[in-house]
Subunit: 244 residues, 2 copies
Amino acid sequence: MAYAFNHRTKNAPCIGELLSAAFPHFDALIVPFGPGQEVTGEGDPTENFFLVMRGLFRGVKFTCDGRRQVFAFYMPGDLCGLEPEGSHKLTIEAVDCAAMAILPRHACRFRMNDDPELNAALFDGATRALALTIDHMMMVGRSSAEERLAWFLTMLAARSASPNARAVDLAMQRQDIADYLGLTIETVSRTFTLFRDRGLVSLPHKRRVLILRPDALARLAAADRDAEPIGPVRSDEDMEAAVA
Amino acid sequence: MAYAFNHRTKNAPCIGELLSAAFPHFDALIVPFGPGQEVTGEGDPTENFFLVMRGLFRGVKFTCDGRRQVFAFYMPGDLCGLEPEGSHKLTIEAVDCAAMAILPRHACRFRMNDDPELNAALFDGATRALALTIDHMMMVGRSSAEERLAWFLTMLAARSASPNARAVDLAMQRQDIADYLGLTIETVSRTFTLFRDRGLVSLPHKRRVLILRPDALARLAAADRDAEPIGPVRSDEDMEAAVA
DNA sequence: CGGAATGTTGAGACTAGTCAACCATAGTGG
DNA sequence: CCACTATGGTTGACTAGTCTCAACATTCCG
């Protein structure tokens, strides 16, 4: 199905590098997509893997009666299309102006058998994707709206260019956030307002979030995940100092 | 992290056969577990993969404040422990009297590099596991209590020995079902009663469910998944005839 | 400037959660 | 054999958080 995996481990080359090295004419495989454009739809045959080069994509599933669940957001370096042979269960769409490298599966498999390093990286990627769904599931299944949004913002901040950046730009709209978190847009909106009124964040624009109190946000977010919060966590003292 | 994958494709040997063939002293690796006994805990180093031989296991995640999410149930033939290098994020426990084959990771990896078929089967298994989480997530994020339980029963019936069997034995207790579905035990209990009162199921014992109207149950379950319902679906006429 | 799309806010409804009592079953020990 | 207890499951009354529906505000474009 595909889940993000750009969590590059320090000591290993990231999957993107391995893949681009494995394909001789890699640049020719890169295809641009406009906002909302579909990369792969549910039911399409699973012919390729996809590597995000630029922009943001989403993996979505719809129900017959219009409900929607965003299963994952994919950022540059993430691989998606990791679904079992047959047909896709997930629709992959561009969120904004973005680009994907489209990698034929048979060629990937061929190279995997040749190259243990690539093989391990792909397998590791699939297991990382699964690990991400654990927190996502816990969150969707067992958390309040506040915890969900706090988790989402904390995760986005951790994954953004500089993990210490306190400004998060939301490429996706409220509906995407809502469908990712298993909420409605109204609840997402209300919760943003709540966070703002409490001084946890400020919202200079609708699509830009300034995290004023990362500590408090992380505490809320961590309620569902007893383990370490995502990304580097600083002490409360640091946080207070940073805000001051 | 680990998700079930015993969906054996007709034309390929199942992962269990490949693995047992790959390990010369396979039988010696099989370890029995009693109800509630832990196979692997959160934070433990990821040293092994596990193949269910007998009984039922669950993959669970806890929060600091006691909330619990069951991420998956593992049945014989399922592989689990598929988490990225490092430490487990999921606790794996036996639900009843059960047994696991414990397969050292380094040996698996070694054999994967040697054996493209095993490699493909493991990779395919990981992607299948991811695919299962899509429906699970959709369900937990976007469905009513009725839809969730209907989905659960439909899935169990499809996975049980004979997919046409209308009797489903629940090895797990209500709390496990609730935590798998993101509900409370009270809601699960009430929904069972509701189904019984509507004539969809009968409950000869607390742990045994007779599915009287698989069609109606599948329709409820399929509401979240526009695609084909799990398992063989018969026409309404067949169903009515079978019930009559 | 007007219109469409996106986001926010409010009021009320409703589903599922909480808390508490009760029931069923299976052991256990007198 | 029968209390007695422990565990698991059911039911009821009430609460609360989120959804729904509707109005309104904002932003972005042409």
